[in-house]
Symmetry: C2
Subunit: 345 residues, 2 copies
């Protein structure tokens, strides 16, 4: 679908924005990394790669986590590193079979901090019923990492009912969002104490596989596409969908679940909530005939009560996302540009 | 075999030695990480985890690379990151099916340096006939990494002929080493320019799967155990074997292939070549009746000409490695203690 080579990477050096999940990230991956590594399938563009292995379809993914601070309301890097990778598998409709965790530790890190994160990794893996089967640990000099960076690899078995592909997306399909957006990004920002703003927000980090299983039960091959809107937010994920399908996405702004505190922080900071990262939400494109049943199924699953159908797939504007406000007026929602909230995962 | 919980981690903070592959690394993994993550199978102790997936036996591994400098005679971090992971699969007798690469990039990294390493990754993967099917890229602030850290995940299919296990090792088994030791570690040390010593050494980074395939052809289940002696060197790998099997390893010092330049550098620095890291060598334990044929097979494979049988498995000294010098005299070879050569991979 994606035309490899259409994007050129001309930036002379790496900037924070290249890791933000928006336009610069896409330029780096599509313009430099993917062409050299042999194909447009690589990179953050796909949450997980799906491979045929004997009679099984397996999904393989790996994600690096560099969030700071290491602990924040609602979670920590260890929990995030497991949930994030599990969610990439879930977006490929894959149940986890094994995790591998690699740690880059900074010399001088308190053993108690490491122990807390290993416990968080263990708890998140146990919650998902998957084992950590291997790992690797490297140590770099003091100052050469922020306590720790974690990369988590996930291997999963794809549900045989799943038929996910951007190629399956049709005009008239509905877009489901699992819950309120922006909690994770704004929580991290507040946890850094750089902002004179109080809010009782928590990261939304959680595994989303339980929702995906209910969706497969009710929608089967009416479930066309899924993505967890992490870095770059809902806007970047839906823009990638629009580009990949050459279709348009029409959003109904008032249908998008959003906490007042996130809305307030975004207004204060001049940020669009659609650009803020989430760590426990997902987007799904559903055939119109199964959309209502799918929404009911997600809402009936604990933690899915705020799910909503937030828009639909259209032929126009091809390759773009158009958001309509409640009292008229519409705007093109672009991918994230720059990096307003660095290192949120 | 290994008694989990026997090791306690009491160190108050992380030090460079915890990443060196020797005693401190083992204490960290066995005393803290593995018990919390639910078992003694985890960590650098195993090069790759082997899982049953439907009818297939698959191997899964991930390794973090933080070598500095990024480029050195004979290789670079990108090539090392692919070969190192391929070799962990090879040590499980697994052929690679897919790689996933995650990058942590430092803001300010020249795009040309990144491009060179992505090219190195692509070339090493192509040489091994395996695709890079996915990845992830994060960016941290200038000063928070040394250009880049890479984690490489490998998924492989285990050769059905392989019956590798420390439990299969018997007294009388022979120990094969694939070639000269210490080239990688000493090359990295010299590349840092911290040493007033000139040598025309190159890293030995290379994939070792071609040798493993020949070994399986001639030895089948006479091939008991393999390990690539990276961090911590041959001494640490064989000590782990000795501890895991509760048997002894007897080495014949004069049989160990070693370049004069590595010997000279080690004498100058007071290092034991058996503690120096390798990135293109492996150790194999073979049943005595197949050992000579196995040696001939490795020697007949390009790059294996210097392979040697360097010792044998004995009942004594149980749990330890004893090295015998050419003109009499024997010494216990311990695991690496401390970190004389930090960040060599």
């Amino acid at each position: 679908m994606r035309s490899a080579g259409a994007v050129r990477f001309r930036d002379p050096q790496i900037e924070m924005a290249h890791g933000a999940g928006g336009k610069a990230s896409r330029r780096l991956v599509e313009g430099l990394i993917a062409p050299l590594l042999g194909g447009p399938l690589l990179g953050p563009l796909m949450d997980a790669a799906v491979l045929e292995l004997g009679a099984e379809r397996v999904a393989l993914t790996a994600d690096a986590f560099v969030v700071r601070p290491l602990r924040f309301p609602g979670g920590s890097i260890g929990e995030l590193a497991v949930n994030g990778t599990l969610n990439d598998l879930a977006m490929a409709a894959a149940r986890p079979a094994a995790l591998v965790v690699t740690l880059v530790l900074e010399a001088g890190l308190a053993a108690s901090v490491l122990e807390a994160e290993v416990r968080a990794i263990a708890a998140a893996a146990e919650r998902a019923g998957v084992g950590v089967v291997g790992g690797d640990t490297k140590v770099v000099e003091h100052g050469k990492a922020d306590g720790m960076y974690i990369t988590t690899t996930g291997l999963g078995i794809v549900d045989p009912r799943a038929r996910l592909s951007p190629a399956a997306v049709r005009p008239g399909d509905r877009v489901l969002l699992s819950g309120p957006i922006g909690d994770h990004g704004i929580t991290i920002l507040l946890a850094r104490g750089e902002l004179d703003f109080e809010a009782s927000l928590c990261s939304d980090t959680r595994p989303v596989l339980p929702f995906v299983e209910r969706l497969l039960d009710v929608a089967a091959d009416g479930l066309r596409w899924m993505r967890d809107p992490t870095r770059g937010g809902v806007a970047s994920a839906l823009n990638e969908l629009a580009v990949d399908t050459r279709l348009g996405v029409g959003l109904l702004e008032e249908m998008i679940p959003l906490r007042d505190q996130v809305r307030g922080a975004c207004e204060l900071l001049g940020l669009d909530p659609l650009h803020i990262a989430n760590e426990g939400q997902f987007l799904a494109v559903l055939a119109p005939e199964v959309a209502d049943a799918a929404l009911a199924a997600v809402r009936a699953t604990p933690g899915g009560e705020a799910a909503a159908l937030i828009g639909e797939i259209r032929t126009e504007p091809a390759g773009a996302v158009l958001s309509t406000a409640p009292y008229g007026g519409a705007r093109i929602v672009d991918m994230l540009v720059g990096d307003p909230l660095p290192r949120i995962c």
